[in-house]
Symmetry: D2
Subunit: 383 residues, 4 copies
Amino acid sequence: MSTTDADQMPINVGQVEGGSVTFPAWAADTEKPKGQPRNPDPVHDRIGFAVLSLGRLSLEEILPALAQCKHARLTALVSGTPEKLAAVGAQYGVSAEHLYSYDDFDRIADDPDVQIVYVVAPNALHEGFVRRAAAAGKHVLCEKPMAVDVASAQAIIEACEAAGRLLMIAYRSRFQPHMREAIRIAQSGELGQIKLINALNLQNQGDPAQWRHDHTLAGGGSLPDVGLYCLTIARAIAGEEPMGVSALITSPADDRRFDSVEDQVSFTLRFPSGPVATCVTGYDAHKLSRLIISLQHGWIELENAFDYVGQRMRVARRVGDREQISEIVIKEENQFMLEMDEFAVWIRDGSGPSASGREGLQDHRVMEAIYKAAREQKTVSLT
Amino acid sequence: MSTTDADQMPINVGQVEGGSVTFPAWAADTEKPKGQPRNPDPVHDRIGFAVLSLGRLSLEEILPALAQCKHARLTALVSGTPEKLAAVGAQYGVSAEHLYSYDDFDRIADDPDVQIVYVVAPNALHEGFVRRAAAAGKHVLCEKPMAVDVASAQAIIEACEAAGRLLMIAYRSRFQPHMREAIRIAQSGELGQIKLINALNLQNQGDPAQWRHDHTLAGGGSLPDVGLYCLTIARAIAGEEPMGVSALITSPADDRRFDSVEDQVSFTLRFPSGPVATCVTGYDAHKLSRLIISLQHGWIELENAFDYVGQRMRVARRVGDREQISEIVIKEENQFMLEMDEFAVWIRDGSGPSASGREGLQDHRVMEAIYKAAREQKTVSLT
Amino acid sequence: MSTTDADQMPINVGQVEGGSVTFPAWAADTEKPKGQPRNPDPVHDRIGFAVLSLGRLSLEEILPALAQCKHARLTALVSGTPEKLAAVGAQYGVSAEHLYSYDDFDRIADDPDVQIVYVVAPNALHEGFVRRAAAAGKHVLCEKPMAVDVASAQAIIEACEAAGRLLMIAYRSRFQPHMREAIRIAQSGELGQIKLINALNLQNQGDPAQWRHDHTLAGGGSLPDVGLYCLTIARAIAGEEPMGVSALITSPADDRRFDSVEDQVSFTLRFPSGPVATCVTGYDAHKLSRLIISLQHGWIELENAFDYVGQRMRVARRVGDREQISEIVIKEENQFMLEMDEFAVWIRDGSGPSASGREGLQDHRVMEAIYKAAREQKTVSLT
Amino acid sequence: MSTTDADQMPINVGQVEGGSVTFPAWAADTEKPKGQPRNPDPVHDRIGFAVLSLGRLSLEEILPALAQCKHARLTALVSGTPEKLAAVGAQYGVSAEHLYSYDDFDRIADDPDVQIVYVVAPNALHEGFVRRAAAAGKHVLCEKPMAVDVASAQAIIEACEAAGRLLMIAYRSRFQPHMREAIRIAQSGELGQIKLINALNLQNQGDPAQWRHDHTLAGGGSLPDVGLYCLTIARAIAGEEPMGVSALITSPADDRRFDSVEDQVSFTLRFPSGPVATCVTGYDAHKLSRLIISLQHGWIELENAFDYVGQRMRVARRVGDREQISEIVIKEENQFMLEMDEFAVWIRDGSGPSASGREGLQDHRVMEAIYKAAREQKTVSLT
């Protein structure tokens, strides 16, 4: 068969319209629809991101995720370490004029390829970098926790508002497809009212010298780091604000990891319309990340709920005269990709963010109440 | 082949010794050992049980379980409903002289076939029936919760001690094979220290007129009924007594089921050597029964943890450079059978009970503290 | 609270009617219905079983199962080993006049407490014992495989017909609740037509001296023992008879276990209306028992499909725009209990058997074709 | 905290060496090692790929996968549809001088940015395009099935050899991490010898007009398309070549999808050292993709074995006196990325391919034997 005749063959070449390619379905109707190719925006139409600080999170997750975005692309890097800046620039094809040190970062104001600065640095530095990015006229995606305390979170919001720039908090789990479906089902009423949100997120930290164990830099221990996911997701599921909180904090004695930050935090939130959230986070336990939502007529479980990958969702309910526990098969998608793409779309279309600065501020308020409740051993009111 | 020659054939007929039959293994060494036949004691050597009250639990679970016991057998029935007594007596082959009404129950003192009375009646009646059974010279297996408050639990213990009779509380989950293995692994140290015991036990009650929704008869709502399993198992796993407790009780308004008893109880226990237990029970949620134990180097999960059947255990840990989540396959065994057989062996051999009256009393003490902590919205000390 | 007043309390005592006790539902409508107590027939109304031969299967499975029956009970034992007969008689309360040796077994004709003889002895002895049981006027439940070849299977059927006695084959998997539901769904059409039945049943045998490795006694190796379940269930699922079969038999050289019987058998059945069954059985592999049914619009999987316990069923299909894999939670029930109870009901009500002698005979015919196909290395027609 | 001082803080900035960045572990030793960032090669050092034909597979899988490669990058596109070429070129940033039609494809000889042509077009066109790519001096990655018959497969190999160019077949499942681990365990001997490889790969096709249902273009139906994975993986697991094959082909009548190609193929392979493979593929069944390997001392199961994503691996074996079924948690990685990166490394380092043209040719030989065995209804020898 002549290959030059290939385009005369009865092969479906798909449709091209508005720069996108689509194809008819190849599978029978009995199968899950396969959807269409991703069709990324033309490279130069995508929103440009500068990634600020080149630690593990940036190199392992954020930079690879940008390569999967449809609406966003990497256009600049910012780091305090020159050799790293050069190496990573080469790896990702960012040319020298888009590489910034912390000192000359403010020059980014003149870089037309950068619309958003993704601030990834240690928690205590967020406020300073957000101020500088906003002052440079850039929108800001700020890693979680957005700050080290309520006052700093408030200052971050005000800085962006003053500069007229958009602010989003990188609560990646809020973009995770299984999580979104879990929240949708829980709020749909199809399983009755939500009774309990049980969220666990624990991990086992090694080196006590890492910055996450320095209260000055981290603002706290397991709570603002991994426990924050339990909190922010519990609020997202309940769809309302907690009215009271109790908490218990326990840290092993004589463990250098916990000289300045806490190990394990158990906290209970009471929501106005009825739901209760029981959450536990910790820094001295084997990796465990689980969400269970108990409702009147069923339950929803998410394994590896707050992890980068590996989510698995089961929903239990009565079907006919039998109990049925269904795994809902959802394709995993990179959470960082989704959040960066959403920010890009927000800039273009004005479709509000799933994780605003207000969400981040409210989480800091609740975390302060958690610390207070643990200290005073009594329920703290949040109303 | 002549069937009369069958016993001359090269068929392994097993070993008979001391009334028990055993066989050599038929499977290769690569397979899980199959063990030996159950070899029940000769019928007339088994310890005789009277089952007191013929409600759902007795008919659905306890009487069928007795038929599976090796060391125990059903020898008498006690009920306040004559037709039921006659019908069930016929079903299980208990002859008329071993059928007792509540009025003439004390005659059981003269029934030599009864060694143990299994008191199954509503909670508020436990104390009275235990007193009468002990006074009649019988040992007592008392359903959980053993009483409606601490004082009554104490009285039950004292009545049995005064009569010189043994007392056991029917905490069936403490006998469940998966649960026993979970406790064994947790306490073995092979996964490091226990950090968190997360126990959920919820169900959705129907008819508000049933006795479990009458505080006078039940002594409480979900807590003493199904939440008690979370509590008693948390104590069993920790292997020590909680030093403090906080709690939150929430009940929907305008729901007749919760006119006199509580719906949902979340409580947190702090144990002296470090572990924390976060437990939730409720009466207005779809069936959910789950135990997760988080340790420093792994986690253990038990699905359907507190149910009659359906337990499934997974253990996660690092193996080599990979995370491994292992299902440990354990044959289910009837929990009621195991607890009744253990009591029978206790009488014979003096090997102490897995669930003494002291355990039941301590659970009542903690439940009182839970109610208090919820009322006062602060941590209650148990030391 | 006075315990003598207990029957005046507002406790629902249930309904007693026709010797059965029933209760109102206690759970909400959102929960799987709990059903009613088992309400066994009065002991002396139950159909009496004699169990013939006291090997592992009888002691580990059949005798305990009889204790769980509603319509059947153990009334006699038959064994070639006097000590075993005495020991087991004591264990199960069978008095001396109902204990039979192989020699005096024919006396059972005069035992009015025995209606059914359950023939459990090695395969080659089935025919002889069935003939004697039928001649004694007893109905027969015959272990699988019913015989060692087609001729003997035919003879067994004729002997029972001649004596006017009922014959059932102990195909326990045909009674297993998950299996019944899998067959029901597969045949309902709700997932389209059946395309493939993939049945695996392998185990690893130890001692080469056991009778199952002696062709004279067993009639074959893995095929008539454990592979028979794949075959009989494939036929049950298809609901029609195979029209052709191909097969491959492989046995390791120099392994005494396979001196006279085969190890592994792979066979493929073609059914007239379209389905294909691919089955594998073996005697030198780690325990594996699995059934997968592939249909046009979904699939059904049964883990531990042919085992005594541990069945787990999942059903996959498209639901909305998602793939859903549902575990259907079904309470396990003892398969031997179900088959013995069904036989008892058959005798009383004439409701035909789920596993007749005709089923057993047809399986022997297909097994002969499997052996032939393997020998000749070509497809053998069964029409 | 001043952000300009950020690089003076006690934050571990990692190591930079040879253009790569590495970090110390942050987690405790009890946790699975997290590894290091991916550190892609500098963009311009990566091997350049031209992707030939822009159908679903290229747009949905291959082009996104290239964006995740460490050693490869997209440098050119080839298509018979000009609008599609322009649209996709813009989406992926391929400039006009690297966009080729089928007519002017031979110009690629002069494109220094292209080292490898990935031939993705319909099966019948592979040979022609491979010849042209090799003649243009490019290495070739050829989609599976590599050809439509043995002769064409042979011609492809010879064309590449004559041109002195490397040839690899895109057997993505051979690169899938779970699959590699399954093969490793199976061959390691730790579970004894392999007894059975049971591989199922079925899907439900829609539109009968698509080219895969045209024998001229596809060379066959389900077998060369999705059944080929069962075959090539069975050979990879066995680690030797099959000596005999039997097969059954069934296709529904009056179904236009099967006018020229087959629906369902069941085939059985016998390997010299003992293992048997039973494989089923089909085009009229709900998506099912499963691999079960049965060994003497354990079994290995891979769910979604041949899919793009969703692999889940369980391994069963005896551990102590218990059966243990372990999920081995392995991070999913894009199979296309892995295969393209491997080819890039092959070019640089000469480390041979996991899927050579010889593998593809041997699979075509076995497929011809499968078709013959089905036609003749007997075992076909392959030795």
